[in-house]
Symmetry: C2
Subunit: 120 residues, 2 copies
Amino acid sequence: METSAYAKDCPSRQILDRIGDTWSVLIVVMLADGPHRYTELAKRIEGVSPKMLTQTLRGLERDGLLSRTVHPVVPPRVDYALTSLGQSLYALVEGLEKWAEAHIDDVQAARVAYDAYSAK
Amino acid sequence: METSAYAKDCPSRQILDRIGDTWSVLIVVMLADGPHRYTELAKRIEGVSPKMLTQTLRGLERDGLLSRTVHPVVPPRVDYALTSLGQSLYALVEGLEKWAEAHIDDVQAARVAYDAYSAK
DNA sequence: CTTTCCACTATCCCGCGGGTAAGTACTGCA
DNA sequence: TGCAGTACTTACCCGCGGGATAGTGGAAAG
C-alpha cells in the first residue's frame, strides 16, 4: 500500500518537492518568457541569495529542466533557458496558479471562519 | 513585475507551499477514497509523528480542504474527510502525479548524464 | 596599477522545523 | 482499583537549510 510518496525515490515525491521549492518555481516562471542571465535573475527574484540561486539553478539543470549556456567572453556571460521539459513543467505551474486564483477566496473565507470559531 | 510568489500573501505561493508539504499531500491522497480516522491515517502514512499529523490536519481543516467530525462517544472517534474544495485540490495532485510518471524517465536520464559529466 | 565587472564558491553561523517522549481527559470493563 | 484505548497537547532538543559575508579569476577600462 506504500502510498505514493513516503519513499524518496517515488516520481511524485520528487516532482512535489520541486514544485514546493520556492526558488525553483520562481526561476521557472522567470524563464518562461525567454532566457535570462544570472544577474538578471538575481535582480528580478527579490530576496534570493547568490548561494540559493546557484544551488537551485544547478538542481534544475541537473534534472534537465533548464539549459545553461556559458559564453567564453570576458566578463563571463551565462544564459539560462527552459528546456522543453522545463516548459512542460511550467504548464503545471500555470495550472496551479489558475487553481489558486480560482479558489483563494474560498480558502481565505474558510480561514477567517476557522479563526473566528477558535478564538471564541 | 512582482513575480507572483515572493510575497507571502500571494495565492500561488500559498497553494505552492501546500502542495510542497509532504504530509499535506499524503493526507489528501489518503482521504481521496473516503473518510478516515486519526489512527488509520497515523498507521497508513508511514513515518508521520502525531505532532505533525495533528498539525497538518489542522492546517488543512483551517483552509477548508477537509472536514473534521467528532463523534461524542467513548472512546472518542474523529473522522476526517475531504471537502469539495479538497477534492478539487486532489485533482491537481493527480495531475502532478501524471506528469511525474510521464516524465520521470527524462528527468532521471538527465540526472545520470549530468552526474556522469560532472564526475569526469 | 588599481578598479570593475560577472558568475560563481567557500565558510561560518543561527533559527526553526520537526522528532521523541511524556502528560491529559474521559469512561467502560475486568 | 486500575488499566486500556483514543485523540490529542506540551516540552525539550537537535540537525541542517539557508542567510550573510568574503574570496576567486581574468581581462579591459581608467
